[in-house]
Symmetry: C2
Subunit: 385 residues, 2 copies
């Protein structure tokens, strides 16, 4: 497997799944459905394995992949999903011991990639949240391993891949599915109701976090590149149209040329939009920041020293423009974490690090000083007994 395929951003894994659904390949999709203890990746991590033994995406740091390719061959041959448990806690002296999964037990679901997965990739492509429900065990046998249902935020009940009602699926799964979809997290739930034991993997695929960058200088390039690698959906907004944004910023998902005064009209900004203002023009920056402060965006990163923003605030004040505390607390200037670097990439690295921390609600600090687990534990309540 080539390096490039392994280390693609998560968003690209789903794009590749989408592409492969259009083809006639016999690909196998591997997904971590459960983790006990510490592992490199979390539930929901995916890898697509094709017939040639090439994989896209990563579910471990690399050591299990050979084993997975063999398992995928078996799944391809039998045409049925398989659930494989890698127990890396058992044998501490084994070469894997405390190794690959760091110290965990990983359950991996391997399944032939079929049309039942299409609603997932289509929602993702459209920028809609979705949760994919996959049956792992059903004591009543109404569902077979690999059977699938969907949670869409706009629907009142779970649906089949064809969009029909899904009577075999307890609708009480909709609540935890909705929660996981919004947060982009995954978990395996066990339901025990009226004698039926049902084990379901719920994979919440949140729409990629949107990052809107205002500016068209060359320094926008490294920010766009590093943000895209970190799974943000990046829109670059330029003013006055003198630059061909698509050519200059090939890593942007979208580009838009508008005028500074039309920012709030031309962009759909909401509480899920992260924004960076780096036009290097004071007046353009001020017009943009004013509209962003009036919006509900959770993050406004403004390039430049703090006194530049103080001057901006003084001008707002002179004009009688005021903003509430919450809006002002979403403004980060000077932009970025204090990492000390001064090159264009180092500046971009510190900006993207800050956005990751804010988006994930983390206090930036050394992990070694943090109490508790590195990964948030998913705490979705298992419905009904």
């Amino acid at each position: 497997m080539t390096q490039n395929n392994w280390s693609v951003p998560e968003t690209e894994v789903l794009q590749r799944v989408h592409e492969r659904l259009e083809g006639d390949g016999a690909d196998v999709l591997a997904t971590i459905v459960d983790v006990e203890g510490n592992a490199y990746r979390r539930p929901g991590a995916k890898m697509l394995l094709d017939e040639a033994g090439e994989g896209v995406g990563a579910i471990t740091a690399g050591c299990l992949e050979d084993d997975l390719l063999a398992a995928a061959e078996s799944v391809r041959e039998h045409g049925r999903p398989e659930l494989i448990t890698y127990d890396l806690m058992d044998d501490e002296d084994d070469v894997w011991g405390l190794g690959v999964g760091c110290n965990g037990i990983i359950d991996v679901l391997l399944e032939p990639l079929t049309e039942t997965y299409r609603p997932a990739v289509e929602a993702f492509a459209d920028g809609r949240d979705v949760a994919v429900l996959t049956a792992l065990e059903d004591s009543e046998g109404a569902l077979e391993r690999g059977d699938r249902a969907y949670y869409h935020p706009t629907e009142t009940q779970l649906t089949t891949p064809d969009g029909e009602p899904a009577p075999a699926w307890p609708n009480e799964l909709a609540d935890p599915a909705g929660d996981l979809a919004e947060r982009g997290r995954a978990d395996t739930l066990e339901i025990d109701g009226r004698g039926r034991q049902l084990e379901v993997f719920i994979d919440g695929l949140a729409a990629p976090t949107e990052l809107v960058i205002f500016g068209s200088g060359h320094d926008v390039g490294p920010v766009t590149e590093l943000a895209a690698k970190n799974d943000f959906r990046v829109t670059v907004v330029g003013f006055r149209g003198s630059v061909d944004l698509e050519t200059r910023f090939p890593d942007a998902d979208e580009t838009l040329t508008t005028s500074p005064a039309a920012v709030s009209d031309d962009l759909a900004l909401d509480e899920r939009s992260y924004t960076v203002v780096m036009t290097h023009n004071f007046i353009d920056d001020r017009l943009t920041v004013e509209q962003l402060l009036d919006s509900s965006v959770p993050y406004i990163g403004l390039m430049g020293p703090h006194d530049r923003f103080e001057k901006m605030l003084a001008e707002f004040d002179d004009e009688g423009r005021t903003f509430d505390e919450e809006a002002l607390s979403s403004l980060y200037t000077p932009i970025g974490l204090d990492l000390g670097g001064g090159s264009p990439y180092q500046i971009a690295h510190s900006i993207v690090a800050e956005i990751l921390a804010v988006a994930n609600d983390r206090t930036p600090r050394h992990l070694k000083t943090r109490e508790g687990h590195i990964h948030d534990r998913v705490t979705v309540e298992s419905p009904s007994k």
Copy 2:
């Protein structure tokens, strides 16, 4: 100018200068020699401008570049260095006002690229610190603008580009030059001695910071890639030789296959080597960490949860191995800053962010919460009056 040329890592700018010295082009080198107020880049930022109007590197975020290309044309034509001042403080209502340089005055030296620059790029290629001294003004006229001398840590006095003694250069410049070379910083000094006023730009080019990554799993790839973009010189060390490291990690400057027990023998590790241990094999990690703790490296990042390291420490303890506090404080595990991401690139981003913070002696936090200037001010004492 294409995006790629603008946003190359700093190390690549010097590599390109080296390449162009071999050719017969008439390139112009632009260097920021002084900054007053806040600017996007600091003194020492470089840009190479060729005859076709293409530039490599960045000295601003992009807006001054057209002007620089015109100035470069003039320098090329006259064959003499020029010092240009961009005053971005003057006119606040100008489109540049508080803009490009954020709020500063930038002095840029433009000069024809000549053989006098060769000792700089050769030292850089060899991994040696060096300071390039360039005359800006000399009231006595002994030195002309653009005349050059060098500080090499192994020499007792300043030398000419040909390696000869440099009598026209006051040797008291050697101390600040040595300091700037070690720290990789640049500054313009004014000397006023016995009626002679001399203004010299000293550009300290520290050898790139070395990052040694132990491990050959695919997860090493994104760390290597992002570290290289941030100007680290990356060596990937694999054990047992089952992986072709050069092919798997194209962004590594060097690769080495050795055995876990031979780490300290096969690598020259010192107080300038940053290290990351991510073999995903407990025994390999332990052997490596033991040797790193015995060395003087300032940073040992260890992948895995904290209790994995506790187990390692307990085993050291059982074997009667102890380490002093300073060594143990250089160990960072779990590795990385707390940014909350879980994808391979997000994990790599948090690792490289941590290394930048440690290498630059910064406390990772939002810059908006930091007192004082974003960039450290260079405080080299001007020699003798």
